[in-house]
């Protein structure tokens, strides 16, 4: 990407890195500048599906060969994660649903893997794609609002589903109107309910998106350091600085991506168990 074009090159470089590979469903063609709802971010979907399949493949392999007597390396690793998830779910959620724990496991691992894409050098995959004729490529699915909202809205729908299932349609309605200020302030109660309910998926997805988008952006900014420096005298110290900053940020980012995956999973469990509680 290091096309030295003077002042605007850095802006172009960043812009280019933040553009999804888009597929316009209305015209059925790849179009980097496509807008409107019926557009697929092919790169985000591709990597999210690949990573999900990667996760499911290894976990399924471990599950298939799972023995009580002689767990191998993969089984130990998978069991560690499953056991961790199970403990978290047991601590927070006291309902009967068989869905919550596998859901939390999927979120933990999948979101972690999507975040992990952030640690791959920012130019590696886009450059490879460019070489094979693909113009745009954003490799970190969790820096795409569609992906994070796709997860959080699914969680939101499950929240609503469980809420209605446990409390019944009328019970749910009654709670939205009478909680927490009593039936005389029903409009306020309902307004509060809407804010509270909408805030959950929005904060869930925006937190993940914001952290990862910012992280990715900083990686891109670090990459800009030697962009267009060419053979100038400044190139050497800039290069050293870039490497140092890149390493530092990457190490710090290991913590961030793990933490964000953990937070997303934990909050999902918390929200779902809250949705099933009677007030």
């Amino acid at each position: 990407m290091a096309s030295a074009e003077g002042g605007s090159s850095a802006t172009q470089y960043i812009q280019h890195h933040l553009t999804n590979l888009k597929f316009d469903l209305t015209s059925m063609s790849f179009d980097g500048h496509a807008s409107g709802f019926w557009v697929l971010n092919v790169d985000s979907l591709f990597f999210s599906i690949i990573l999900g399949v990667f996760f499911l493949f290894f976990f399924r392999m471990a599950a298939k060969k799972a023995t009580a007597t002689e767990p191998g390396g993969l089984q130990n690793f998978v069991e560690m994660i499953v056991d961790f998830t199970d403990t978290q779910v047991r601590d927070i959620y006291h309902g009967q649903s068989k869905l919550i724990a596998p859901l939390a496991l999927t979120i933990f691992v999948w979101v972690f893997l999507m975040n992990f894409m952030d640690l791959i050098p920012v130019d590696a995959l886009p450059a490879a794609a460019h070489a094979s004729g693909i113009e745009y490529l954003k490799v970190v699915p969790s820096t795409d609002l569609n992906i994070t909202f796709g997860l959080s809205i699914s969680v939101f729908l499950l929240m609503m589903f469980y809420s209605v299932k446990i409390k019944g349609g009328l019970g749910f309605l009654k709670e939205t109107l009478t909680h927490p200020f009593g039936p005389w302030l029903a409009p306020f109660n309902f307004a509060l309910f809407v804010v509270e309910t909408v805030a959950k998926p929005v904060s869930l997805s925006l937190r993940l998106f914001g952290n990862l988008y910012a992280g990715e952006l900083i990686f891109i900014l670090i990459a800009v350091f030697t962009l267009g420096a060419g053979a100038s005298l400044l190139a050497v110290p800039m290069f050293i600085l870039q490497v140092l900053l890149g390493v530092g940020w990457a190490i710090f980012h290991i913590l961030v991506i793990t933490l964000q995956a953990y937070i997303f999973g934990m909050l999902t469990i918390v929200y779902l168990s809250m949705a099933q509680e009677h007030h």
Binding site: L40, L45, L56, A63, A66, A68, P102, T106, L151, I153
Partner: protein, 157 residues
């Protein structure tokens, strides 16, 4: 950066992944872990049972050894007593036998002494007669002088 159909696609993908995890990943792993837990707790219980049984067996063995020791002691004591008895009896028998032998010998000796005395007396009597004959230079009518001889014999006695 805008919301588009990717959102819907992601939701569908998410649903499929969660379903797959719920159906094919979570249950076998949990099952394996639960089985292992059960196995371990069973193993621990078996080990505890084994230890308890060992303790019991040890106690029983000790008891048996103690009993055997008492029994042996008893047998030993009995044997000792029996041996003592036998020895005592044998000693008693020997003493009695010895005494009997000694008595018999003494009687025999007495008898021998008496008969020797008799013989001696008779010899002396005949010697006296012979002496007297020699002195008188004649034969004494034994019949006539029998009473004198008898007197002599009596005197010698």
């Amino acid at each position: 950066m805008s919301i588009n159909a990717t959102l819907l696609a992601q939701m569908i993908v998410f649903a499929v992944f969660v379903w797959f995890t719920m159906k094919f990943v979570w249950p076998p792993i949990m099952q394996a872990m639960r089985d292992r837990q059960k196995r371990i707790s069973e193993g621990l219980a078996a080990a505890e049972r084994g230890a308890r049984e060992l303790n019991e067996a040890t106690a029983k063995a000790e008891e048996m050894v103690a009993k055997a020791r008492t029994q042996a002691q008893e047998i030993l004591t009995n044997a000792q007593r029996q041996a003592d008895d036998t020895l005592e009896r044998a000693r008693e028998d020997a003493r009695a036998e010895g005494e009997r032998i000694v008595t018999a010998a003494r009687e025999e000796i007495d008898q021998a002494v008496a008969s020797a005395k008799e013989d001696l007396r008779r010899e002396v009597g005949s010697l006296a007669v012979v002496g007297a004959e020699r002195i008188l230079k004649r034969e004494i009518d034994a019949k006539a002088h029998n009473d004198i001889i008898d007197d002599l014999v009596a005197e010698i006695r």
